[in-house]
Symmetry: C3
Subunit: 266 residues, 3 copies
């Protein structure tokens, strides 16, 4: 498959349809993920009041559940939004931020996976590992040295959900299908929310309704290409953050030359 052509095709469909992407997310990355959603051509909405999430999700084309700053109320909002997504065939992307760091985060992520038809989970090696009984995190960062391919495979086997483990390279495990994505830049690890933004990119790409594993690989590859371009001339992390949004917004025009997705042996 020509991934470059396919990624640009997705970006074109998104830009034409301007699908709504409903986020229930955290106070740290709300602004950045909203801007990334706009940059990729979709429309963001952040809404987490229990009274309105079902209605909001019903008009969305993707729902992103990000557990970065939980509260009792936001957990209830996530469950309600998720049930609404299930009823309206809206794909759900789970970002288990900091799973493994506290019992609340681990249990909330597991509860979402058990009670809701999650389409894709995206996390780092530590977070995804923590949900299958391994994994080491410090706050929201992965530590330790597990192989991300093993982690992703175990997670997929356990939950049957398309699994994306992002890091130095990204691994996506779906049904009969494993992708690796070799894009991105070390500067991503120097800004907060780069993982959450990757999750948002996945949500945007899922709005087309096509194969989730492939769309996840395309999303992560495209986002990684934007990061590579933003990192030209070695900016500091503050400048990189602005440029990342610039380059994400330019992907449709510039194309995603350099996207490096490899379908590997299952």
């Amino acid at each position: 498959m020509n991934y470059e052509v396919k990624a640009v095709e997705t970006l074109r469909i998104v830009a034409r349809n301007k699908p709504l992407v409903h986020h229930i997310t955290n106070i740290v990355v709300a602004n950045d993920t909203a801007n990334l959603t706009l940059g990729l051509g979709a429309l963001p909405v952040m809404a987490d009041a229990v009274e309105e999430v079902e209605e909001m999700t019903a008009s969305a084309k993707a729902l992103i559940l990000n557990i970065g700053t939980l509260s009792g109320e936001s957990i209830e909002a996530m469950m309600r939004a998720g049930r609404s997504a299930a009823a309206h065939n809206v794909p759900i992307v789970l970002d288990p931020v900091g799973a493994g760091a506290t019992k609340l985060r681990t249990e909330t992520a597991l509860r979402i996976l058990e009670e809701l038809p999650v389409t894709v989970v995206r996390g780092n090696r530590g977070e995804i590992g923590a949900l299958v009984g391994s994994g080491q995190v410090r706050g929201v960062e992965a530590v330790g040295d597990e192989d991300p391919r093993d982690v992703a495979r175990r997670f997929f086997e356990r939950f049957g959900v398309v699994t994306a483990v992002t890091g130095v390279f990204d691994v996506i495990v779906g049904k009969n299908k494993v992708f690796e994505v070799h894009n991105g830049h070390p500067l991503l690890a120097r800004i907060t929310g780069s993982g959450c933004m990757a999750t948002t990119a996945v949500g945007v790409f899922l709005t087309t309704g096509e194969d989730p594993a492939l769309q996840t690989a395309l999303a992560l590859g495209s986002y990684g290409v934007a990061a590579e371009r933003a990192a030209k001339h070695e900016p500091g992390p503050g400048t990189f953050r602005s440029k990342l949004l610039d380059e994400a917004a330019a992907l449709l025009t510039k194309g995603v030359d350099g996207i490096d997705i490899r379908e590997v042996e299952d």
Copy 2:
């Protein structure tokens, strides 16, 4: 009237008095709107605990109620702050973010309009339209093709509140007075919070206590001029966002040459 002179005069008064602008706002734009408030010479404070909002509003010169991420508690905080504003003659600006997208947002905006002496409402065509029974929104964006002039007029007739509908051009309807503002740039639609920042600009300009419709036009015109300058050399949206704050902060020094406010037939 020489709008250019009048806008700069307002900015000078603001810079001299450093009025406090109390925001009850959402997690997406809190940082950007605080920075814009500072850029325009005023002092921002974000406070939404029900225990403190009355006291905070009492020492403010404008109160901004932004319903972008509501909760049961923030609604109660808005009502309390609004009553305090009424008691202390503090102008209230309502930003009905996403009205029309959910019942909660529509009803909360209507409740605020009914129970509080709102001075100015600022929204896009879809949001303002939704509150008078028309209007189409997708999340927090306007869709459809209503004429913003009709929407603003109907809203003013229904609620008797100075009404600003912003978009490709802005319409402000007040008592016996209609302004159009032809400033701004398409890049504003590529960043999140550009509407919320417009609302903040209005709040800052209202702190002088002068005619609300005129001050709203001056605020939107000045903000639009800053956007035009920030858009020079076609930056991407991430860079544009930073430059918008730069240019807003430079308005007092550079002046607002190019401000295009037209008083039109009522």
Copy 3:
């Protein structure tokens, strides 16, 4: 003491150990303070659910309590996190944002000081003054003209906590020790969260476990040097904000040449 060498040594230790810095903070500055934490080499986590804060703090090397946007629940979270910090010897930094502006803020700051073993408090002249019965604030900004040295001394005498009053210059009062820091730039006052970021820098420097007054001076000096460098070529505040993060992240490489810390007569 060679403060330059000592500051770089701290930055090196931080970069090597990547300590977790747990913030319970406000919606305005969560992103900026997380990015600054990363820039200085540590790992940020923002978590304020009462169910998880004790656990999160237990694995952190510093706890930052920032009262910028309080709620009933976040106050309870701060008390629980603080008790966990006490039990695990995690230093606590208090940022009493807007103390003096409302009774809730003043009383919450005082409650934290009374019930928790705060290591360092960092605020502006108005906030710190308000907690010892003087001080004037407008929202979260200091007004009035008290001498920050008097304010800091009185606070230290009253609470016995290392006290940092930041402003045109910074004063740090500890046991038998008073420092002044003459770094920074007026542009810091033109962006929101510059005080909160200073507090974060203090938290990061405290993770080494060394003398809190000295580490606070080193943190504020280093942060001030980054601000001076970011202000080169007189950027607007939006651009300055990005460059501040760039320069903070470059401190370990560039060193902190120009750090101006003076130990003054007690």
